[in-house]
């Protein structure tokens, strides 16, 4: 044993790969249920009247968003960090007992937090702030998990062999810092147990309850500064980190322009934080902030497309790989969807467009072409790439991967097209006046008209979920597929029929 050559240690990666898949299934399954509940409201009672409180739309909705953001995506970020981090810094987790311990602690605390979140959201314990629904005890646990993630990042960097940090590591560092800052400021809250009754008697009440430090408009401002940038530092920055590693590695091509990747990094860091105001157009926050939000959202196209074009051009001269490898297909489609949603977002942030789009399903559509098309595809591609290296076996089935790709692509297309139509239809109907200047439609008219689109959206989501089950099965079977040699793992991943 003494003389065994040093190897990368993927123990923690494996653990987080497991939660990526498990929580992905949970989040997407709930999403599909929600979609069909809007099309067929009877499904709110799918487990009977007695459990209606726990199966109705409003109770499940925060579970869906949080399972996808903090379950699926965050697990994917952690899994890839513990993989990419070691490799580009050329240092193994096995070299430091402390980092190994912290990594495992990180995982188990994360699991405990996830369980607490699921229980509390089912019970209706929520602060109501989107993607920050957790009450203060869970917030504290999340901060601890996050600090452990930071210790792992800077610990590995501390013992690295490679002097410079690869661009992906930049993005992981930014993820860590960005979320830390946003989460702390948005979740400033006062637990209500700190108050005392004027006559000094015992008050009682739920010990976990708290209220926000900020009121009304200020609270909205901080929430959407957070909400928008949680998307930035959860759904954009770390996913860019992944594609900058996995696409060059899988295709064997160097990044088209490393310098452009550095420039886009700083551009994205500076610009993204300003754009939060576009969630609050025509609200009661000061006008200049709304305008800033609009303008910066449009400028944000530059660094986003800088990264996206850089990824696509990385394939220059090697486009036959897109046809040959389903794994490359996933990543190329992901960067295409990235370009697409970073163009769609700024369009929605223009004030006159936002007047129609805000509060409608078009926004829901936008989120989903980003998350299903860009985040989901990239994380699945990352797991597909890591699986053979982590398990030292070839990917179980290439044809299953290809079918999954097409089924899910169809699902995403059905999803966003139906939501575009639904959103614009509803937005236009809300504002329509008749010849006498009265409102042309009652609110319920604008709901019933959406039924066909809600159904199509549900089908789209279902197709994506089916694809995700195929993905989970493929990864599961990979664990017992044909073992491969180290030499087969240099670039393109080995795949079985």
């Amino acid at each position: 044993m003494e003389n065994r050559p040093l190897e990368y240690d993927y123990t923690v990666t494996k653990m987080f790969m497991f939660t990526t898949i498990a929580l992905g299934i949970v989040g997407m399954l709930i999403g599909v249920i929600l979609a069909f509940q809007l099309a067929y409201p009877g499904l709110n009672l799918m487990l009977g009247e007695g459990l209606a409180e726990y199966t109705n739309f409003s109770r499940l909705r925060p579970l869906h968003t949080d399972a996808v953001i903090f379950g699926f995506t965050l697990s994917g970020i952690f899994a890839t960090w513990y993989y990419v981090g070691q490799r580009v810094l050329k240092v193994s987790m096995a070299e430091s007992k402390l980092l190994m311990f912290l990594g495992k602690l990180h995982f188990w605390l994360y699991i405990i937090t996830v369980v607490a979140v699921v229980i509390s959201l089912f019970a209706g314990v929520t602060t109501s702030k989107e993607y920050a629904e957790f009450e203060w005890p869970i917030d504290i646990a999340i901060v601890v998990v996050w600090v452990l993630f930071g210790m792992s990042i800077f610990g590995l960097i501390g013992i690295r062999r490679e002097k410079s940090l690869y661009i992906s590591v930049w993005y992981y560092i930014a993820t860590f810092l960005g979320i830390a800052m946003l989460y702390l400021f948005n979740n400033m809250e006062i637990p209500t147990i700190m108050a005392s009754a004027p006559d000094g008697s015992h008050v009682g009440g739920n010990w976990w309850h708290s209220i926000s430090m900020y009121a009304g408009t200020n609270d909205a401002l901080v929430q959407w500064w957070y909400g928008h940038n949680a998307v930035a530092f959860g759904f954009t920055v770390p996913i860019v980190a992944m594609i900058y590693y996995f696409l060059p590695k899988e295709s064997g091509q160097a990044i088209y322009s490393y310098k452009l990747s550095l420039l886009s990094f700083w551009g994205l860091m500076f610009l993204y934080l300003w754009a939060g105001g576009h969630h609050l157009l025509y609200s009661t926050v000061p006008d200049w902030m709304q305008t800033m939000g609009s303008i910066f959202s449009v400028i944000l196209i530059l660094p986003s497309w800088g990264s996206a074009i850089n990824m696509l051009l990385t394939m220059k001269g090697e486009w036959q790989q897109v046809a040959a490898s389903p794994l490359i297909k996933f990543m190329i489609l992901a960067s295409t969807f990235y370009m697409f949603s970073t163009l769609e977002g700024p369009i929605q942030a223009i004030k006159s467009v936002n007047a129609i789009a805000h509060f409608t399903d078009w926004i829901v559509g936008h989120v989903h072409d980003g998350v299903l098309g860009w985040v989901g595809f990239m994380i699945m591609a990352a797991l597909f790439h890591m699986a053979p290296r982590v398990f030292k076996r070839e990917i179980y089935s290439k044809s299953l991967m290809t079918s999954q790709f097409w089924i899910q692509t169809l699902g995403v297309v059905l999803y966003f097209t139906s939501m575009w139509i639904a959103g614009i239809t509803q937005g236009m109907m809300w504002r329509a006046h008749d010849e006498f200047g009265n409102l042309a439609y009652s609110f319920i008219d604008t709901v019933t008209v959406l039924h066909p689109y809600y159904t199509i959206r549900g089908v789209g989501g279902l197709l994506y979920l089916v694809g995700f089950f195929m993905f989970a099965y493929n990864i599961y079977k990979t664990m017992s597929a044909r073992p491969v040699e180290e030499s087969e793992l240099q670039s393109a991943s080995p795949m079985g029929a």
Partner: protein, 67 residues
Amino acid sequence: MDIAQLQAYGYFALTVFLVIGLYGYIYHLYSKRKNSDGVDYEEYSNMALHDDIDDTPVASISDDKKK
């Protein structure tokens, strides 16, 4: 001077500083093919392509210590 004025001046000064920083960075990146360590920026892509634990680092930490 009230807080709004401070905010405006601070905002302006910082923006000018960052614009100069950004253009300085672009100039730096594209005027010099190699950085101060003599490494071509585009070489850094190899950190991903040659990332086995026994591959030679693009620029090794231990090189620094030898100097």
